[in-house]
Symmetry: C2
Subunit: 349 residues, 2 copies
């Protein structure tokens, strides 16, 4: 049996009320008495009941993390940042996965409410505005990566437009002038935002990205492998390709090798996600935009703690990306790799 | 403000004690009274405080999940299974990551203890016996994937020897007779167990796996790519390779293609992990052993619930693997793919 406050009082020879005050640093008593109580608690291996404490503080020091559609490849890095931010407040994370099911989502929200969580983080695999979880919850909610369609809510996500700019700037710095874009389905906001950023960065250089050089398809290696061949048969003068994720870039690298085109000399490649496991294993290794998900997680955690303390910041915050420079689009000789990652990266599994 | 039991009592015109009994289905009262109390609670949107309930039941309906070294690629599938098993008991998961740091681990164990969790799941990236988390914890502990070095503890892990047998049986069924093994560092128990299983399956067929055909190295594509060439230069008669993970197999497939060897006709390949994202994108797609981590998570969750209920099963349980058959080592024509996965697979991100 775990020792209780009664055991401490008995062993220390004081009343339960005095033992409690002694442990909590409250009340008036002789320093020797307080020291004896604290030492007794230590000797007996007493651990305060956090749950009982929450009944008086009004807080449970727990935060829910609800993912709307599974623990994806992005979740681990995000989780690490959230955990580090919350640990400053000794908050714990209660995890639940709604699996694209509204009934499950409702069930979990009810369960978290019954547990009196201090706050909730809602995440998901897409950055597209999504319905808010529920009206009038008795705790603050922060949307992470996914964003709420309601502007009164607080969302923290990635600046995909900035990511698109970084990718194209890396290609133009290396010397590419005829740039194409192989990417995912245009139904995703992230896909459209990256195209916008790519076009803006090209416009800065007096270049453009005509529709004929933008190819949409599944976010897969197969797409990169087959589409890079069709693209170069159609427009053989292309010298740089911005790929919408690292899987497409990996397929494109393999496709270019099969066609006898050299990377980066003939065609340079920049991917997106900086998924080290894939990017570093590509031949040659892939330069890739990094969404800094660990940092995103930290900001989400800090934003939620501020909301719990009463400082709510409605609207959507978009955090900038960085780029990991590798051999598929290296930094120009004698030039520092300016746009390398500026946030600690959590290693892939 | 969330409605309280006092609000319900006032609106329903009963005492607080009667309202409480009415909601909990206790005490003697007229059915109309009970119905009125329940309806009032519903109308006001009353939600019982789960934390208060735990003070009387002695349970908190929370379970800790401590990972010793990060949320790896394996965690999502495992988590899904654990969550499904625990949901039968409406348990919630408190998540923490010790990040290979004994001080962090101790801190989290103390925090979970202070929160009075009903039980703890300890996971990690290796199957090697590891030190138990702590002596004399006031709740049951189940080790998942990782195993405790103490035989009095309960551990549920993968039967890597069985996985090795499955891989080799798939190669011999396809017709391979001179089989090699490219795998990870022999310091891992999983690596050694898979070699043992591979040798046992070959012995069943009167074949062997001499040391010259077993190559250890990092679990990386680069390893597979470079070592497959050296192996085949040394022993050109090899017709099947069992790879210790899908990254090595991917590298080996690309290496064989670069050498002009056909997969599976000249050399067949079987990987390990069935990491769909990588295995299905390999050219040709990789046959791969599946550790059924979702099912492992379910068994872990069920084992923990049984321990909480008082039925403790000390020792190490090893769950069998299955195999996903794909083009790199297909099923013989006219033969059913017997060893396909027999558990629902959670898709990769």
């Amino acid at each position: 049996m775990a020792p209780t406050i009664r055991d401490i009082a008995r062993v220390a020879g004081v009343s339960v009320a005095t033992a409690s005050k002694g442990l909590n640093g409250k009340g008036r008593m002789r320093p020797e008495t307080r020291e004896r109580i604290v030492q007794t608690a230590r000797d007996l291996g007493f651990r305060p009941n956090r749950n009982a404490r929450s009944l008086t503080s009004g807080r449970t020091y727990t935060v829910g993390l609800l993912t709307r559609n599974g623990y994806g490849r992005f979740t681990p890095a995000l989780l690490g940042g959230v955990e580090d931010a919350l640990s400053a407040d000794t908050c714990s994370l209660l995890l639940c996965d709604a699996r694209r099911d509204a009934v499950r989502e409702r069930h979990y929200i009810d369960a978290l409410t019954a547990r009196r969580v201090d706050g909730l983080i809602v995440t998901g695999r897409e950055t597209d505005p999504a319905p808010r979880v529920m009206r009038d919850l008795p705790f603050p909610v922060v949307y992470a990566y996914t964003v709420s369609a309601d502007p009164a809510d607080t969302s923290v996500t990635v600046d995909d437009e900035h990511g698109g700019r970084l990718a194209v700037r890396q290609l133009t710095r290396y010397g590419c002038r005829r740039i194409a874009h192989l990417t995912g389905p245009p139904s995703y906001a992230a896909v459209r935002d990256r195209v916008t950023g790519a076009r803006a960065a090209l416009a800065d250089e007096g270049l453009d990205l005509p529709d004929s050089r933008v190819v949409y398809g599944p976010f897969s290696e197969e797409m990169g492998f087959t589409q890079v061949r069709r693209l170069l048969e159609r427009e053989p003068e292309i010298d740089g390709i911005f790929c919408g994720n690292d899987q497409i870039a990996r397929g494109a690298a393999d496709g270019l090798a099969a066609m006898g085109r050299r990377v980066p000399e003939d065609v340079s490649l920049v991917g997106f996600d900086n998924w080290t496991l894939l990017a570093a294993s590509t031949r040659p290794a892939l330069a890739s935009v990094d969404m800094n998900l660990y940092r995103l997680g930290r900001v989400v955690g800090e934003t939620l703690l501020a909301s719990i303390d009463g400082t709510v910041t409605p609207g959507i915050s978009r955090l900038p990306c960085s780029i990991a420079v590798r051999a598929s689009c290296p930094a120009p000789t004698g030039d520092d790799p300016v746009w390398t990652s500026d946030a600690p990266l959590v290693p892939d599994a």
